[in-house]
Symmetry: C3
Subunit: 161 residues, 3 copies
């Protein structure tokens, strides 16, 4: 705890929408680039952002299997929160971002790792949605709300996205 | 005001979705369990979380009556923000949480009371949505944005859900 | 930087929903009225709140023109996040607010200017959605995430709406 209060930032990423995921990682990587220690805590639908596209199928009960089928697997499959139009909106947004050389969500996630952002998957939400560690990307941590709160109380930028 | 800055946490609960309500109460009760003084300020659709399931009908103008019919009455009737599928998604989520012994929203709300979390209903939103005190659960406070801001400026964890 | 930490508040307005826009400006103007230095940073769909209703048409590529047609132009055209019912919900909410003498979003935005709230349009989002300065209201600033973070790290109330 030798760091001062303002050296930490924490984001709860509850949403699994592409646009909100991008906003979260732009804020997170921006803060890390400024020298802050950043924690991004992924909970509920936000876990979809951390899913591997091609994870080995995992044995689980039927309802959890159903959630697994319906929910998007990783950044490439996310929709946007408005005007998604069956995925067309997400495609349009990705197309424009590419054309204008704006970094994609995948690139932002790579950058987050390089900047040592602490990516945490909420274990309780994993339990509810029936998501296992094997289905999530590597190099992340697993914790509950107490861990989030411990980080948040030392942060001066705390956002819920 | 003898408390230090970090002893308080404040949440604005704007959303009336079951999943976001659960997330709010998990964060709120978690912070209270860590010894923090927690305020949860319910505004707009968040007021639905505080509605009694079987309140006596209250006389009010037609448009407000309509809002009263359409909007969900209390935690049992809330939908989830994604994949609600006419209530099926909410049922699936509640079913899984029960099976896994994860506390329900109703239990979290009971816990919040036991932990002395200050539950505040936003009076301006009550006015807009035509919700009266008789229709909300007991043991809560009523206040406006100035009261919220007074709590928020002393808190280091401030979230908008 | 002679100000103390608690003299600043910052809001990220990501949503372009009428109800969330109203909530943002009520919190923002409330904080400013309490003497705080407030920054409201409008990003993604939040930019719709800042669009002029009758801006001169601007030459732009087809996809961006499409976004321009679909997205609402300014506070009068915004929908609400729940029960919008093709605009009916937004009309009902505006009708009730008028009847009860609650300030409208337009009035809140005027008030924000009078209270010297710093309104910032996110330049990266403008780029993605193809929105130009000519299409946004006057008297605002243009900046990126670094500028937002610089304000946020000095603020004790930081919200993402």
């Amino acid at each position: 705890m030798s760091q001062s209060l303002s050296d930490k930032s924490t984001l709860v990423v509850f949403s699994g929408d592409l646009d909100k995921a991008i906003a979260s990682f732009i804020i997170g990587t921006g803060a890390a680039a400024m020298g802050k220690e950043v924690t991004m805590f992924f909970t509920f639908w936000g876990l979809n952002i951390l899913r591997k596209e091609n994870a080995e199928p995992v044995k689980k009960p039927f309802v959890e299997k159903m959630f697994g089928w319906i929910l998007p697997k990783g950044p490439e499959r996310l929709g946007i929160s408005k005007l998604n139009m069956g995925g067309l909106g997400a495609k349009m947004m990705k197309g424009i971002m590419k054309k204008k050389n704006i970094v994609s969500l995948q690139e932002l996630m790579e950058l987050a790792k390089e900047l040592d952002i602490k990516i945490v998957a909420c274990t309780m939400s994993m339990d509810v949605l029936g998501i296992t560690k094997e289905e999530l990307i590597d190099g992340i941590e697993y914790a509950g709300v107490a861990s989030y709160l411990a980080d948040a109380e030392q942060s001066n930028i705390n956002l819920f996205v």
